[in-house]
């Protein structure tokens, strides 16, 4: 990796990532890429987030659903760990709480495949500095 020495370098990385994301969203087949984030701070992991992460990666591959699964930090909903955020292309992200393997399976089959919401949604209850 070449060292970053200018504002342009920073902007380039930002743009690259943004493009990657918008590419995902504008893909020809809108069903093609799903973005999933698993809350993997200590509390999430203690509640089993690692197993859910592996389960999602394995199962999505097995079932031939192209998706990007990443780990992320604490979403704040400790009472509902493990938490998983699913963003279908062109839609608002939805956070599911109390995700077990069975629930993860249901999320894949119902929500990701059919857009059908399942029980266990946690409404987002905060604003971030990006919100206008």
């Amino acid at each position: 990796m070449a060292k970053i020495t200018s504002l342009d370098d920073l902007r380039k990385i930002k743009k690259n990532l943004e493009e990657q994301i918008s590419l995902r969203e504008k893909a020809e087949n809108p069903e093609s890429l799903v973005q999933i984030k698993v809350g993997m701070a200590t509390s999430g992991i203690a509640a089993g987030a690692k197993e859910i992460f592996t389960f999602l990666v394995d199962e999505l591959e097995k079932r031939n659903i192209p998706a990007i699964v990443t780990q992320t930090g604490d979403m704040g909903y400790s009472y509902a760990e493990p938490t998983v955020e699913v963003k279908l292309p062109g839609q608002e992200p939805v956070v599911f709480g109390w995700v077990t393997k069975e629930k993860a399976d249901e999320i894949i089959e119902k929500y990701i495949r059919n857009g059908e919401l399942v029980e266990g949604i946690i409404p987002q209850n905060y604003k971030t500095i990006d919100d206008k």
Binding site: I4, L10, G73, G97, T128
Partner: protein
């Protein structure tokens, strides 16, 4: 995509459930069936919307309509009007309290501004192990701006004008601290990040380090530039392996990208960061003890002044800030001090992260603007008290904070107001207690923690806290006298006035605040030999009610000390001399025959 055109989300939080949200779901489903819409609409129960005051809450997707105070009989109208005819049910829409106009989109409801994420802006959003995701969210832009467009004095001035105060407990103005460190003679100076987080139940700092480690690294480099330091140290407890792992990855990536190390952004500013591990002693979070611990000495505090900003690590000027304090820096540089100062109250700016725990429905990590009330935190964000019990107290400020009550619920949360109410901001732990908690026992619990964690260097803390704990123990055992209360009060004052460091100076807070707010409970323990929460074992007795007892033998079989006598189909009796008051019989009895006096 998808088979369903509409989703109806119904709040399944405790508050809404108790006001019939289950019935609403049932009615909606019946209406859907009656209209043959099963493949068109789906009803889903969700977690708490946090808007319990206006429950039950129903939200319709995809148009995001937000209905409040919904009744089971409204189901017909929601289906007929909204789903079939596509017209919103005006009378159920949430109305803006100011303009009284219906708000049709839940995103525009002020309520959701109750939580504002500045410190946690990237937590749960980015992958903490990928520096590019941080950069994509304007990461390291603030550092760039400082190094290329601002002088160190200007950086300090921005932080001062923002009004940011230390989030590690004391609330010292951060810009002023940086200014003192900048004025101290160099060239060898240090930036230290205090990631000791010793308060039991607190996990704000851990969450920031695990979810957004670069936000702290970037801010430490900015601080280094501002005060003229080129070395940073993060003091973190070894019990935080995940945070340590992510920090290590983050430091390595930042070095590879040239954002830490020599000649950052090609300028002549260089800054490196190392980790130092603590063994998890509470007192090592105190900055002088922390510095001694980093130097390889015993983690004991020393008298201030000299302050670390003048003479700290290895006797050199050292700026110590808390993790959360650092996490605020970059947004302030990018969005400006005026933006930051517009959030919060006159004396306490910005937001605060709290770890909400105890007898509350939505245990979790919250970030709220300063000035919010405890009522809003407990009942709206926290979703109210568990099992619909009665609120009794909320403990803020960690082990050396105080217990606040009903009468403080509407006080805006600021550094000063919390101190005036007998507690403090501390690092941000909040533990909610209900009617089943005995406040004398609570005071004793916290005291025992400080006794355990006292380093023993000064007599008031070492001996005084031990005596406080002994007197509390005596009271909870039913052997206290009214003179003991006077003794407690005096001892508290002496310890506060004479202890060497912040630990001893604040450790009597739980005793003082419970004496102040729960005087009756102390007197009951002493005079009536009663504990109203039935928590103090020496003051309660288990009995079996002969009216209700069916002689099923269940309790007798479960009793671990064989203290229950009685034949099958005969009333059982507890032998008070043998009973250890473990409560197993109460849990076991299916006939409500066991009771406590």
């Amino acid at each position: 995509m998808g088979t369903y055109k509409y989703h109806i989300l119904v709040c399944g939080g405790t508050g809404c459930k108790s006001s019939q949200s289950t019935q609403i779901v049932q009615n909606l489903n019946e209406e859907i069936k009656a209209n043959n819409l099963e493949n068109f609409v789906k009803v889903v129960t969700t977690g708490c919307f946090g808007f319990c005051e206006r429950g039950p809450i129903v939200k319709v997707l995809p148009d995001n309509s937000f209905y409040n105070y919904v009744k089971p009989e409204d189901a017909t109208e929601i289906i007929n009007e909204h789903i079939i005819k596509g017209r919103r049910v005006e009378r159920l829409l949430f109305r803006d309290p100011v303009t009284n106009k219906p708000v049709t989109d839940s995103k525009h409801i002020n309520f959701y501004q109750k939580q504002l994420r500045i410190v946690l802006r990237n937590c749960g959003v980015i992958d903490p192990e990928n520096i590019e995701e941080y950069i994509a969210r304007d990461g390291y832009l603030a550092l760039y701006k400082c190094l290329n467009e601002l002088t160190p004095t200007e950086v300090i001035d921005i932080i001062k004008r923002s009004g940011l105060r230390g989030r590690g407990g004391a609330g010292f103005p951060t810009g002023v601290k940086w200014e003192i460190a900048a004025a101290s003679p160099g060239p060898e100076k240090y930036v230290v990040c205090n990631a000791d987080e010793g308060d039991p139940g607190a996990f704000m700092d851990r969450s920031v380090l695990e979810g957004d480690p670069h936000s702290v690294l970037e801010a430490m480099a900015i601080c280094g530039y501002a005060i003229g330091a080129s070395h940073g140290l993060i003091y973190i407890r070894a019990e935080y392996p995940m945070a340590i792992k992510r920090l290590k990855i983050a430091i390595k990536q930042a070095e590879e990208y040239g954002l830490l190390g020599k000649n950052i952004f090609g300028t002549d500013f260089s800054f490196d960061i190392e980790l130092r591990y603590g063994a998890g002693a509470f007192v090592c979070g105190e900055e002088t003890a922390l510095i001694h611990s980093m130097e390889g000495n015993r983690g004991e505090p020393t008298v201030k002044p000299p302050y670390p900003a003048v003479s700290g690590y290895k006797g050199k000027p050292t700026n110590v800030n808390n993790v959360e304090t650092f996490a605020n820096i970059s947004p302030i540089i990018i969005k400006g001090p005026e933006w930051f100062a517009s959030i919060g109250t006159e004396k306490s700016k910005g937001t605060k992260v709290f770890a909400l725990a105890g007898k509350i429905n939505n245990v979790g990590l919250i970030e709220v603007p300063m000035g919010i009330t405890l009522r809003e935190i407990i009942y709206e964000i926290g979703g109210g008290i568990k099992n619909d019990k009665k609120f009794k107290a909320i403990q803020t400020g960690g082990p050396s904070g105080g217990c606040l009550t009903e009468k403080h619920l509407d006080t805006p949360i600021e550094y000063e107001t919390l101190v005036a109410a007998g507690s403090m901001m501390g690092s941000g732990g909040m533990i909610v207690m209900d009617e089943d908690d005995c406040m004398v026992s609570v005071a004793k619990f916290y005291l025992d923690f400080t006794v355990e964690e006292s380093c023993g260097k000064c007599a008031p803390c070492r001996i005084g806290n031990k005596r406080l704990s002994e007197i509390l123990d005596k009271i909870t055992k039913g052997n206290g006298t009214m003179e003991d209360i006077e003794l407690l009060k005096n001892l508290c004052m002496v310890i506060k006035d004479t202890a060497l460091c912040g630990l001893g100076q604040t450790s009597p807070n739980p005793v003082q605040s419970t004496l102040e707010n729960f005087w009756d409970e102390y007197v009951e323990h002493i005079v009536d030999k009663k504990c109203r929460a039935n928590k103090c074992k020496d003051l309660i007795h288990y009995y079996i009610d002969p009216e209700n007892c069916t002689g099923c033998m269940a309790c007798a079989r479960k009793c671990p000390v064989n203290a229950i006598a009685g034949e099958r189909k005969q009333v059982h009796v507890i032998n008070q001399d043998l009973c250890t008051k473990c409560g197993t019989c109460l849990e076991t009895c299916k006939f409500n025959a066991v009771y406590i006096i």
